[in-house]
């Protein structure tokens, strides 16, 4: 795969994955802003982003000190675990086995909890609201940080991967700021399905490289793996739906 194609595939995967996580974090931050105002919401979100930047800045370059094959193998296995977990969840949601993630419902639940704090006049309710915002950004951001480090650090693409994640977060934040409500219309499950296949494809490739198994076609094999994961995922959805119909007869 050429340099530009490699950068493009990594940047795309990071952007899409980060968008999914940013939508989930935005839901909580918006709930905090709606109930307690933008000050605690913004303060908590910025503090979360600062901690995440420290994690990426500390861990990314440190990976450069470990032999590349070892890094690729370890990160490959983690990407497989992470990507196939997303893919499985998206398959089960798409086939109706698990209820789809509902941002509007998550927003309402967060609003309810924050209103309860306000009603009970908890001392330092603003502080608690800021912590809720901080936690949401930090926890969802940890997944973004892992994806940035996993896809970027092994190939010396940490800067484009970080910029792609930042761009995704800014786009989602801007959309949320304009709409001032959770982005419930984002096809989160379809995105999760596609990103799960992308991450699993990268994970499979790097795990093989780590084991010393050269892939036919070199880096282009990644595209083949992504296509294979998408095909198996779609087949799993179709089979699960058919099984569901037969059971309900």
């Amino acid at each position: 795969m050429s340099g530009a194609a490699e950068i493009g595939s990594v940047v795309t995967a990071v952007f899409l994955a980060s968008s999914v996580e940013a939508v989930e974090a935005l839901t909580i931050v918006l709930a905090v802003a709606t109930v307690r105002g933008w000050r605690p919401a913004g303060f908590g979100a910025l503090a979360g982003l600062a901690v995440l930047a420290l994690v990426v800045a500390a861990l990314g370059p440190a990976l450069g000190l470990i032999p590349l094959r070892l890094v690729q193998g370890a990160i490959g296995v983690l990407l497989l675990l992470f990507g196939m977990r997303w893919l499985r969840k998206a398959i089960l949601r798409a086939s109706g086995v698990v209820a789809p993630h509902d941002e509007a419902k998550a927003f309402a639940a967060a609003l309810g909890a924050l209103h309860e704090q306000g009603a009970r006049r908890i001392a330092g309710a603003d502080w608690l609201a800021a912590v809720a915002s901080f936690k949401a950004v930090l926890l969802e951001g940890l997944e973004v940080a892992f994806i940035v480090i996993a896809l970027g650090a092994g190939r010396g693409l940490l800067v484009p991967a970080s910029l792609s994640a930042l761009a995704a977060c800014l786009v989602v934040a801007a959309a949320g700021f304009v709409a001032y409500r959770p982005l419930a219309r984002v096809p989160e499950n379809a995105l999760k399905f596609a990103v799960g296949a992308l991450l699993s494809g990268f994970g499979l490739f790097w795990t093989g490289e780590g084991l010393g198994a050269p892939w036919p076609g070199g880096d282009w094999a990644i595209l083949g793996f992504v296509a294979a994961f998408l095909a198996v995922g779609l087949a799993a959805i179709a089979l699960a739906r058919r099984a569901d119909v037969e059971t309900s007869r």
């Binding site: 499985r88 089960l92 926890l139 084991l211 010393g212 198994a213």
Partner: protein, 68 residues
């Protein structure tokens, strides 16, 4: 201590949602590693085990979850 345990649980949760899926993936990787170590002259064998193993694990796990 409780906060540390919660943080570690959250960290593990990034990679493990369904224990059977995670264990199956690790088993496939270990099996591919055994093939890579025992048959270095046929590296495609280890790759094949890894690729088809992971795809098979995903399909089997998703279908098993729908039957539960």
């Amino acid at each position: 201590m409780r906060a540390l345990a919660a943080a570690l649980r959250r960290l593990a949760g990034l990679f493990v949602d369904d224990g059977a899926l995670a264990l199956s993936i690790l088993a496939v990787v270990a099996l591919a590693g055994v093939f890579a170590a025992l048959a270095p002259s046929a590296p495609l064998l280890a790759g094949g085990v890894l690729a088809f193993g992971c795809l098979g694990v995903l399909l089997a796990n998703a279908l098993a979850a729908t039957r539960r």
